[in-house]
C-alpha cells in the first residue's frame, strides 16, 4: 500500500476434527476484492494414524479430553418414595454439539424418572481447560429401597463441516465458506460418552417411629383444613376442605383419615383441585369431604392430622388442624331420605293446598298455532318502533330552528324573503292580467319592498334602489344586477309618483309589452339576488 492508504484484514478461523489419517490440503482459497481475485495458498495438514500400541485407549483418551459427562444426584442419600434431583452435565471443548442428546442404559425399575430439562449453560475450567457445560436436570423418585448404580451412555451429535461433499455438490460454483454453512454442508457425527457410575442408596422409611396415620407422603408439606358450614341441622351436609401443599411425592398424597366415628355419615372424599408443576414434584391438592351429622349432640369435627416423612430432618412430621366447633340443630320434618333438603322457599312452613286438583278448563277462546308469528316480531310492529325517535328528532330540530329564528330576526326575515316575494309576484301577475297599470306598479313596488326589506332586514322607509343595490356591490354579477334594480325602482317611482301616474287604466299593446318586460326583469333580478350569498 502506498503512503496515505488504508489497510484492513479479515480472518476466518475454522476448527477441524480429523476423522481419518492421511495428508489433506485445504485450499487454495480464491478471494475477490474490488473485482480482483486473489488466490490464497492452500494449507497442507497431515493426520497421523494412531499407533498400534496406543490404539483405542489412546483414541478414547483423546475424545474424552474433548467431551465428557458427569452424572450427580441431590441428595445422594435417599429414602424410599423420596423425590430427588438428578443432574447431567456434558462438558465439551472446541466442539459444536447438536441439540439432540440421547440417554441410554438408565435403570428401568426401582426409580421413576421424569423428563430431563435443560438448565442454562455455563463454562467451567477443568484441568486448566475451559469447557462449555450443558446441564440437564430431572426429578426422580425412589420406588423401592436398595442400591442403584446409574451409568448411562450419552449419545451426543458433533457437527462437522463436510468439505468434500460440498465440493462434489457445488462443483466450486459457490466455493465459499459462507455458502458452506448457509446451505447446511454440515453433518452430525454421533459420539457416545459414558459417565462415571453414580451410586444411589435408597433406605427404607423408619418403621419404628412411624405414626399410625402415615399414608406414604414423603417430602416437605404444609396442611390446612376448614369446615363449612358450621351451623347445620341433623341430616344436612357440611364440607370439610383439606389443602395439602408442598414438594415431594405430592402426586401420590391421599386425603388424611377423618376420625369422626359414628357421629357422621361420610362419603368418599373428593379431590376437588390439583395444581402441580411440570415435573409433578411440587404443588397443591385440595380434598373435599362431605359429612352429614347424624345427631344433634355433635359439637365438633375432631382434629384432622396429616403425617409425612421429611427426608431433610429424617423424621416423621404431623400437622394437626382442628377440632372444628359445630352448631348442629335437630332435624326438621324434611324427608329423611334426602341427602340435602330441597331448596327451601323463604316460607318454610307447609301449606296444604286443598285435597285435589282444580277441574278442567273450558275451551280456549282463540286457537293459536305455535307457528303463527307473534305480533311483536312482525315487521310492521318493529318498523313502527322507529317512528317515535324519528318524530322526536324532527320535532327537536324544528323547535331548535324556531327558537333560533326567534333570536335572530335578520336571519328569520332573510329566510322569509323568497316566500313573501312569491306572494307579491302573484299579485303583479294578476294586475298584469287584469291590465291595471296602477295596481301593477303598486304590486311591483310591494314585491321589491317585501323582498329587499326582508332579505336585507330593512325597514320600509329604508328601501331604495341604492340601499338595495349597495348590498350586492362587489359581487360578480353586481354590475348587471345594479342596473336592473335601479331600473325597477325607477320604473315604479315613475309610475307611482311621476306625471304619467294618472288614473288611466287602459293599456296600449306597447305598454303591455313593456310591463311584461318589467315583470321578466323583476323575476330575473329576484332570482339573481337569491343566488347571491351575502
Amino acid at each position: 500500500m502506498g503512503t496515505g492508504g488504508t489497510e484492513s484484514s479479515l480472518t476466518y478461523r475454522y476448527q477441524l476434527l480429523p476423522l481419518q489419517a492421511g495428508k489433506f490440503t485445504i485450499g487454495p482459497f480464491p478471494y475477490t476484492v474490488d473485482g480482483e481475485t486473489l488466490n490464497l495458498a492452500g494449507v497442507e495438514i497431515e493426520v497421523l494414524a494412531p499407533e498400534a500400541s496406543q490404539n483405542e485407549t489412546s483414541q478414547s483418551q483423546q475424545i474424552s479430553d474433548l467431551i465428557f459427562a458427569v452424572l450427580t444426584a441431590s441428595p445422594s442419600e435417599l429414602y424410599n418414595q423420596q423425590v430427588f434431583d438428578i443432574y447431567l452435565s456434558i462438558y465439551s471443548r472446541g466442539l459444536n454439539l447438536s441439540s439432540d442428546i440421547s440417554l441410554m442404559n438408565m435403570p428401568s425399575s426401582g426409580l421413576s424418572l421424569k423428563q430431563f430439562q435443560e438448565l442454562p449453560g455455563t463454562r467451567e475450567v477443568v484441568r486448566n481447560q475451559i469447557y462449555e457445560v450443558r446441564r440437564f436436570q430431572c426429578k426422580a423418585q425412589a420406588l423401592t429401597a436398595g442400591s442403584f448404580k446409574l451409568q448411562p451412555t450419552i449419545r451426543v451429535g458433533v457437527r462437522i463441516q463436510d468439505r468434500r461433499r460440498a465440493q462434489d455438490q457445488m462443483q466450486g460454483a459457490f466455493d465459499d465458506p459462507f455458502f458452506d454453512s448457509f446451505f447446511g454442508r454440515v453433518r452430525t457425527q454421533p459420539v457416545d460418552i459414558t459417565t462415571k457410575p453414580l451410586e444411589l442408596n435408597v433406605a427404607d422409611l423408619p418403621a419404628d417411629t412411624q405414626p399410625s396415620g402415615f399414608a406414604g407422603a414423603v417430602g416437605n408439606f404444609s396442611f390446612d383444613a376448614f369446615v363449612k358450614p358450621t351451623d347445620v341441622a341433623v341430616g344436612e351436609p357440611l364440607t370439610l376442605t383439606m389443602r395439602i401443599t408442598g414438594s415431594g411425592n405430592i402426586e401420590s398424597v391421599t386425603a388424611p383419615e377423618i376420625p369422626v366415628g359414628d357421629g357422621f355419615k361420610l362419603y368418599d372424599s373428593k379431590l376437588a383441585q390439583r395444581d402441580f408443576n411440570e415435573q409433578q414434584s411440587e404443588g397443591r391438592k385440595i380434598f373435599e369431604q362431605v359429612m352429614i351429622p347424624k345427631s344433634a349432640d355433635i359439637t365438633e369435627v375432631p382434629a384432622i392430622a396429616f403425617t409425612y416423612f421429611d427426608p431433610s430432618s429424617r423424621s416423621y412430621q404431623t400437622i394437626k388442624k382442628g377440632p372444628f366447633p359445630l352448631a348442629i340443630h335437630a332435624a326438621s320434618n324434611t324427608a329423611a331420605r334426602l341427602i340435602q333438603p330441597m331448596a327451601t322457599s323463604p316460607n318454610t312452613s307447609t301449606i296444604m293446598l286443598g285435597t285435589d286438583i282444580v277441574y278442567l278448563k273450558s275451551a280456549p277462546a282463540r286457537w293459536r298455532h305455535v307457528s303463527a308469528r307473534p305480533w311483536y316480531t312482525s315487521t310492521l310492529f318493529l318498523g313502527l318502533q322507529a317512528f317515535p325517535p324519528l318524530i322526536l328528532g324532527i320535532l327537536y330540530a324544528s323547535v331548535r330552528r324556531r327558537e333560533e329564528l326567534q333570536r335572530d330576526v335578520a336571519k328569520a326575515r332573510r329566510q322569509k324573503a323568497p316566500k313573501v316575494a312569491r306572494d307579491a309576484l302573484r299579485r303583479v301577475e294578476d294586475a298584469l292580467k287584469s291590465g291595471n297599470r296602477t295596481a301593477f306598479f303598486e304590486a311591483i313596488w310591494e314585491t321589491l319592498a317585501a323582498y329587499f326589506g326582508n332579505r336585507l332586514n330593512l325597514s320600509p322607509g329604508e328601501i331604495t334602489a341604492d340601499t338595495a343595490g349597495s348590498a350586492f356591490i362587489g359581487l360578480s354579477t353586481s354590475g348587471e344586477l345594479m342596473k336592473d334594480i335601479r331600473s325597477l325602482f325607477a320604473a315604479c317611482e315613475q309610475a307611482r309618483f311621476g306625471s304619467s301616474a294618472t288614473g288611466q287604466t287602459a293599456l296600449s299593446p306597447e305598454e303591455s309589452r313593456k310591463m311584461k318586460e318589467l315583470l321578466d326583469m323583476l323575476y330575473r333580478t329576484l332570482r339573481a339576488c337569491e343566488r347571491i350569498r351575502l
Partner: protein, 270 residues
C-alpha cells in the same frame, strides 16, 4: 320440412305443460291440505272429546287427545293445563308438572294453574320454586304482556318528551313526567329480559323417580341433593349426557334423560 316438425311437436308440448300444471295443482292442493290448520270446529271437538274422556275416567284417551292438539301446534294454556290434569290423575306427576309449568308460562297469574302445579309438586315432596322479590315482579306478566307494557311506555315516553319540547310550561315538570316513565320502561325491559333468560337457560322438570343431583357429571359421583319427581330446576350447564341444574342456591349434575325442558317449543303463543 321444419314447419311440419313444429306442427307435430306443438300438441305434445301443450300436453306436457297441461299435465305438469295439473300435477302441480294437485300437489299444491295436497300440500295445502297438510299445511293448513284444521278448522276450529274440529279442534274444539277434539278438546270436548278429551274433556269427556277425562270425565269418564278414560285418562289415557284424554291424554292422547290433548297431546294430539299440542302436536298439531295448538299449545294453548287450556290444553296444557287439562293435559296436566289428565297426567296427574294417572300418577304421572313429573309430566303433569311439566304441562302445568308450560301453561304457567303462558299465564303466570292464572290461579288454577298455580294451584294444580303446587298441588302436584306437594304430592311428591318437591318444592315450588318460589321466586325472589324481584322475580315475583317479573313473573306477574308473561313475555308478551311485558312487551306490550314496554311498547306502550316507550310511545308515551316519546310523546311526553315531544310535549316537553313543544310546551315550555311543562318543562319544569320534566323530571316528574320522564322519570316514572323511564322507570316503568326499565322494569318492563327487565321483565322481557327475565323471560328471555328463561328461554336461554330453561327450567327442567324431573320426570323420573328418586333422582339425585351429583357433585360431578360422573357415574358414581357423590350425591349432593335429592330431586323428587316433578322438581323444577334451572339448567345452567351441560356436559355430555349430563346437565348441571340449579335448585335454589345449590347446583348439581343430573342425567339429561331424567328430565325435560319446560320450553321445548318456540314460545310464539305468548
Amino acid at each position: 320440412m321444419n314447419g311440419t316438425h313444429t306442427g307435430q311437436w306443438r300438441p305434445r308440448i301443450l300436453g306436457v305443460i297441461t299435465l305438469s300444471g295439473l300435477l302441480l295443482g294437485a300437489a299444491i292442493l295436497v300440500h295445502a291440505e297438510h299445511l293448513s290448520p284444521p278448522p276450529e270446529s274440529r279442534l274444539l271437538q277434539t278438546f270436548v272429546d278429551a274433556g269427556r274422556a277425562y270425565d269418564e275416567g278414560k285418562l289415557a284417551e284424554a291424554t292422547t287427545l290433548y297431546e294430539d292438539l299440542i302436536k298439531q301446534g295448538f299449545q294453548n294454556k287450556e290444553v296444557l293445563y287439562n293435559l296436566g290434569n289428565a297426567l296427574f290423575r294417572q300418577g304421572l306427576v313429573g309430566k303433569a308438572v311439566l304441562a302445568y309449568r308450560q301453561a304457567w308460562y303462558y299465564s303466570p297469574r292464572d290461579p288454577d294453574i298455580l294451584a294444580n302445579l303446587k298441588f302436584a309438586l306437594q304430592s311428591t315432596g318437591a318444592t315450588y320454586p318460589l321466586p325472589g322479590r324481584v322475580t315475583q315482579l317479573w313473573v306477574m306478566l308473561n313475555r308478551a304482556e311485558w312487551i306490550s307494557v314496554a311498547t306502550v311506555t316507550y310511545w308515551i315516553l316519546f310523546a311526553a318528551a315531544g310535549s316537553l319540547l313543544l310546551s315550555s310550561r311543562l318543562r319544569p315538570w320534566a323530571t316528574h313526567i320522564l322519570v316514572p316513565l323511564l322507570l316503568l320502561l326499565s322494569i318492563s325491559l327487565s321483565g322481557i329480559g327475565y323471560w328471555w333468560m328463561l328461554h336461554r337457560t330453561p327450567e327442567v322438570v324431573v320426570l323420573a323417580d328418586h333422582q339425585e343431583a351429583l357433585f360431578a357429571p360422573l357415574e358414581g359421583s357423590t350425591a349432593y341433593f335429592a330431586l323428587p319427581q316433578g322438581s323444577i330446576a334451572r339448567r345452567v350447564d351441560r356436559s355430555g349426557p349430563w346437565i348441571k341444574v340449579a335448585l335454589g342456591k345449590k347446583t348439581g349434575w343430573l342425567k339429561e334423560s331424567a328430565c325435560e325442558e319446560v320450553w321445548p317449543l318456540r314460545p310464539t303463543g305468548i
